[in-house]
Amino acid sequence: MFGLDKRDTGVLIIVALLALFAPIILNPFPTDSAMAQFNAGYPDLMQKFVIFGIFAIGFNILFGLTGYLSFGHAAFLGIGSYSCVWMFKLLGYNVIPGIFLSILISGLFALLIGFVSLRRSGIYFSILTLAFAQMCFALAYSVLSNPRFNLTNGETGLQVYANDPQWFHRDGLPDLPHLFGLSMRATQKIQVGAWEFQFNAGYYLCALIMLVCFYLAIRIFRSPFGMMLRAVKSNQQRMNYTGLNSRPYTLAAFVISGMYAGLAGGLLSAVDPLAGAERMQWTASGEVVLMTILGGAGTLIGPVLGAGFIKYFENIFSKINDNVLHSWFAFLPDGMEDFMVFIIHPFIGKGWHLTLGILFMLVVIYLPGGLVEGGQRIQGWFRKRGTKTEAKAGKTEPAE
């Protein structure tokens, strides 16, 4: 389908179904149950899943294929966000121009930053990208927000004010980001028994764009261009002595992944029209590296899984507090209850980074291929058991 082979079509369909039914799949617990806090099927979080999925898919095109580890991709995320909000301020709340401008501007920045950074490889490349990202952060945070020339609105963050021009804004259109009148916040709630499912317009727009991005990424992976990028990672010396200029290949990969990041940033603004400089900070760049490695660098679906995994932890684990813990361990005797809460306390709430760090270490040490490798091992384990039982059955037959 769409020029893909059977396996890739299968992966694409699975991702499409997961995206389509996410509001149901991610809400497995009834609304009033004690487990309801583990439900992730609310619009805000689901949007983050797919948007950071796009971010990680794009990052994987650079890091997974060429092996160039960029530590400054958050710069493009931030640039995309600012571009999109500027379109809201100037043209109006329709998200289409904003999304297009965010891809375009971040692509231009990626061309510039990539052109300079790709003169070096390895750790020097990482440091150069990090330096550029920190420069972008500094520009956004302070330099470009002075009274005479206010491009980013500094600490407050860029947002739409009532006196902005919004040339194409008409009465009757929502006063929030919308797609030709359909508000991004529009949510259809459906009550099924004890469960409540929320179908949100912003989420479905982002999910649709994520699917397109995922499809394009598969095409890139399977194209001659993708093969060249893997060749860059494998042996750049051989590549140069085979008549191939590796620089434009890596630059093209860098620009494409920068545009993916810009698109993700634009979508973040499209679902919530506020762009702040903290989106460009180095922690945000590190986060996408974690997502990609945790899910499985160089695999198709890994980055999406990694993005979902990290965002889930960030939003769910950070919400568990001591009161919740006390209610969980209420069945224990008093001393034991306090003791258990004391033990678990550092790993929840603000300590969710600790949990994530431990999980990340475990994955990197025991599953270097990320969650995808974990899945493959489980699959292989089941298959082995399957063939064993078959072999046993085969052996018993001749005995009869």
Binding site: F225, M227, A231, K233, N235, Q237, R238, L244, A252
Partner: protein
């Protein structure tokens, strides 16, 4: 006029004059060996030919065009392919993919943004790569990870990758270094076959006299960065200067 003309090439690294006044002419469709003791400047000379180093003086002309100042990929696109001392292949890729990459380089040039078509639809390149694997007797290994090949097979693959580009000049840097005797002989046979069947010039740097004398039509002996003699193999064997350079004064 040879296909490769090296004139007065000199190269200095700090206090070491690695090459001085090297003149070399490689005739078309011959096998030209460059031999010499350790530190004679063989590898430096080769690196000057492929664009890895730029000589301080002199000129290097390939088919009437200067190669000086060009990047390695440009020189390759001119028709010079290089085989490395330790096989340089794409270890993370399969054998077939390894063979496809030079075919793409031949078809599309040094860069082409071919991001949407699928590799599986590139019929001509696939056919060409399969054909070359067949030629190299490696068709049964096409789906293997190339990193897991034996040393001899890696060498075969690397030579095959170079040949798939139909270069006019093939440069080999000690192609049998560190190989077992059987692998060495296989490589010699392979190179003989290539030289006999193809329209190709081969320049080979080698330590192993057995390899040199079974392949070369013409030999240049390099010592201390400068050519000692250039002659046919029979004459080289008995040349006292060569013996001296290799074995010391009175040997």
């Amino acid at each position: 006029m040879g296909i490769l003309e090296v004139k007065n090439v000199g190269k200095r690294f700090g206090g070491l004059q690695a090459l001085s006044d090297v003149n070399l002419s490689v005739k078309e469709n011959t096998v030209h060996a460059i031999i010499g003791p350790n530190g004679a400047g063989k590898s430096t000379l080769l690196n000057c030919l492929v664009g890895k180093l730029i000589p301080d003086t002199g000129s290097v002309m390939f088919d009437g065009q200067s190669v000086l100042g060009r990047a390695p990929y440009e020189i390759n696109q001119m028709g010079i392919s290089r085989v490395f001392q330790t096989p340089e292949i794409f270890g993370d890729l399969t054998v077939l993919e390894n063979m496809m990459i030079p075919c793409f380089a031949k078809r599309d040039g040094s860069f082409m943004l071919n991001a949407m078509p699928m590799v599986s639809n590139q019929k001509e390149v696939l056919e060409r790569a399969e054909f070359m694997l067949e030629e190299m007797n490696m068709a049964d290994k096409r789906h293997m990870h190339s990193a897991s090949l034996s040393r001899g097979d890696k060498r075969r693959l690397e030579i095959g990758m170079c040949l798939s580009q139909e270069p006019r000049l093939l440069l080999l840097d000690e192609p049998t270094a560190g190989m077992a005797r059987a692998d060495t002989n296989n490589t010699i046979d392979l190179l003989k076959e290539i030289a006999a069947e193809r329209d190709i010039t081969i320049a080979i740097i080698e330590h192993d006299m057995h390899v040199v004398f079974s392949l070369a039509d013409r030999i240049t002996v390099l010592a201390q960065g400068t050519p000692l003699v250039e002659d046919d193999p029979e004459n080289i064997r008995g040349n006292p200067k060569v013996r001296e350079a290799y074995l010391g004064e009175t040997a």
